[in-house]
Symmetry: none
Subunit: 453 residues, 2 copies
């Protein structure tokens, strides 16, 4: 009965949730461009204070503030921590949007705005769940701590500093990550992990300045040199070819493998969405799903040398540069891998290549049999009437390890997202029905989580 009051409150206040989402979306907050971040942080803090949370902006040495909010339960000692971010991706290319990315226009049951799905709807949804408990019951089923950072979209460069600085008040028994919700076919999905990342930039400089390419007969070309060096890093099937790279890779547990087997993957649909005829190394089926969830990657995110304009120029370039993101899996240690990479280059005779480590984050993976994972799955059943899909790990990355490792918080990603929300792309949108159902899911998790005390 109590549960029905909560759900009814959420349904009855859908309009208010949408208005809050529009308010947040109409405040641009682009971390890559440093636009509107403090203003958006203030808005988020304002929404928390309105509901009765203690909320403050925590300043860091550099970068925008983190919004911290908390509210204690009278009836439970257990604490659930929410991780969210108030920053968004740049809205470019603007010409492909059907409405202004900051207008938060509603069309056909969706709010269209940059940041609507990633990640402002999840902030609003979690606040709506909290409000439902407070308004119907006057109490929360568990303590809530809210951490909302402002640099997720630029790799959370100062978030580790925040976590280390504030770790004493971030204690809890479980956490909910920023994203998640409905998968294809509107089946709820629970994600248990994120890959880590080592982001590096290579630079080879062989000449003081660009030269006439006639000199290629007697002078080494930096593009050749970089190309040869990178060519030693990965084999044709996508496997990293650096000795020791896989030494600390933790395999899947039998339970995780079972979850992977059950995970649906619309291969033909995905191929057609991406415009490809086959997957890397011809993979399919379980192998493909294992690769997405568990394979380290070595991706060239950028390569530049010489003249890349129209027509032809015969230049011997002075330098060549490449950016690479290596996605990591448990229990790879990015610092150790950076050393392996450096040694690999040195041993192959490429010690002159400049290597700049731009960011390093370990992977995170919460066990399938952890309490928070079980609660997320059970409540998905209750709210959506369907067995949820369990993603052992997202193929993407994020600072989840700061929750799972540093704060020792078992963490799952669930929320109010939906497929075709165009995150990081033009016409990003949030389905209003998913916002509401996701809120009910979060409320159900809070209740079950607190009741365990």
């Amino acid at each position: 009965m109590a549960r029905n009051h909560i759900r009814k409150h959420i349904d009855d206040h859908a309009e208010q949730a949408v208005l809050r989402l529009q308010k947040l979306c109409r405040q641009p907050s682009v971390s890559a461009q440093g636009v509107g971040l403090r203003e958006c942080a203030e808005l988020v803090r304002g929404l928390m204070v309105e509901l009765g949370l203690h909320a403050e902006l925590v300043s860091l040495k550099e970068g925008p503030p983190v919004v911290y909010g908390e509210l204690r339960s009278q009836s439970s000692k257990r604490t659930l921590v929410f991780y969210n971010h108030y920053d968004v991706q740049p809205p470019d290319p603007l010409e492909l949007w059907e409405s202004d990315p900051w207008a938060a226009e509603i069309r056909e049951g969706r709010v269209y705005a940059r940041g609507a799905a990633d990640n402002k709807a999840n902030i609003v949804s979690r606040l709506a769940a909290i409000e439902a408990f407070l308004k119907t019951r006057g109490d929360l089923p568990c303590n809530i701590k809210f951490v909302v950072e402002g640099e997720e979209e630029t790799g959370s460069p100062h978030f580790a500093e925040y976590i280390h600085q504030e770790r004493s008040r971030l204690k809890g028994e479980g956490a909910i990550w920023e994203f998640g919700g409905l998968d294809y076919g509107d089946i709820p999905a629970v994600t248990l992990g994120l890959k880590g990342m080592l982001y590096v930039e290579f630079c080879v400089k062989t000449l003081a300045k660009d030269s006439h390419s006639a000199r290629a007969a007697i002078v080494e070309n930096p593009a050749w040199r970089l190309l040869r060096a990178l060519g030693t890093l990965r084999d044709e099937r996508g496997r990293v070819a650096i000795e020791g790279w896989y030494d600390d890779v933790r395999g899947f547990t039998p339970e995780e493998l079972k979850a992977l087997e059950k995970e649906p993957l619309q291969e033909e649909q995905l191929k057609s969405d991406l415009g490809i005829s086959q997957f890397l190394a011809g993979m399919s089926g379980l192998e493909l799903k294992k690769a997405l969830a568990g394979n380290p990657t070595a991706n060239i995110a950028g390569f530049y040398s010489g003249y890349i304009g129209e027509g032809h120029k015969t230049v011997l370039p002075a330098y060549a540069k490449a950016k690479m993101d290596f996605r990591l899996v448990p229990d790879q240690d990015p610092e150790a891998l950076a050393s392996l990479l450096r040694n690999h280059l040195k041993q192959r005779g490429f010690g002159d290549i400049q290597l700049a480590i731009q960011s390093e984050n370990p992977a995170a993976r919460t066990p399938l049999n952890s309490e928070i994972a079980r609660i997320a799955c059970d409540t998905a059943h209750e709210v959506f009437g369907a067995e949820p899909i369990v993603h052992v790990s997202s193929a993407g990355s994020g600072p989840m390890h700061l929750f799972t490792h540093t704060l020792k918080l078992p963490t799952v990603a669930i929320g109010c997202n939906h497929p075709y929300s165009n995150t990081h792309a033009p016409n990003e949108n949030q389905r209003i029905d998913a916002l509401i159902s996701g809120t009910k899911w979060i409320a159900a998790v809070m209740e079950r989580f607190g009741g365990k005390a």
Copy 2:
């Protein structure tokens, strides 16, 4: 005595030559970008008409016009043909220029501008030599034909068409190529040949659009694919690794080898100028000189994929592109080599890589004992008081074969250039003293060439 009048006129009109050079340089004429070409052609034609030459713009089916100028001698039936080009390389990277590349600023006796040395000074210099004869003597010592094309820097894609179309009026007994002048130590140099070129662009497209790099776990990255394909084209010592590539390479004659042995090459100076610690594959001495004059090359002139801006972006690029110039030597046939390249890629499993042939030119090499070569050497002695250096071949390229093969014109390259002119690079410049001495050299060649009749 007559010779002294000519030289005096050249000295006395140095300022006018510099003004003409500035005028030409202030007209951008970037063939790679299609900028300012007709305007520059008109300027060149105007300078010719001013001196009394018959001059016209010859239109081709595509591309900018060729400027053709001629003036007959009253006293000689022999014809010397000048080859020049009015187009220039793109000025990038702009930030490394100390003055605007189109300002033609004079600093410390040099004119700084894109195209100043390559090749506008030589146009101005040859016109100044013609003017000196006409003004002091009222006649030329030989017939002059002037061919000034507008696409040399993009591989002269339509110049063969022009030569075939106009060959009947391009008859002559010898030709002077576009460049040449002073070498290191201000010793005059005569160049007898040019390498050929095959310029190609590769494109690999693996995705419909840029994607999140998390997908690198299951989708091939086009940069990896291009990097692997290019990696099969050349070995570490710079040798082209395509089967059959060297089959038609003609070796040096004993005379040519002797010239190569005598050719000075300031290795330490060159290394320090280029900012390198050693030459390709550790070459030195005769091997190095033979490489410059006679080795085919495979140069990456440009490589682009993904995100190359500041900071980090985790993108799986949709495509990767590379531009390569292959320098060719006698008697390699660019068309045959293009087929070898295509087959090589196909056989290595890279048949999907798009390969666009952007230009193809065979090499040219005029015999050391030809009349024009002997005149160029003898007059160098007269004008500079020093035995000239003979370069069997430039390391650079150009459509000289259309003169030596199609028009049967023995051709040498001499002019008013100087080392440290930064051609194809930022801060390109023309030394004014070299402009004047080079003009005297051209005048001496004209005189000797006409007198042979």
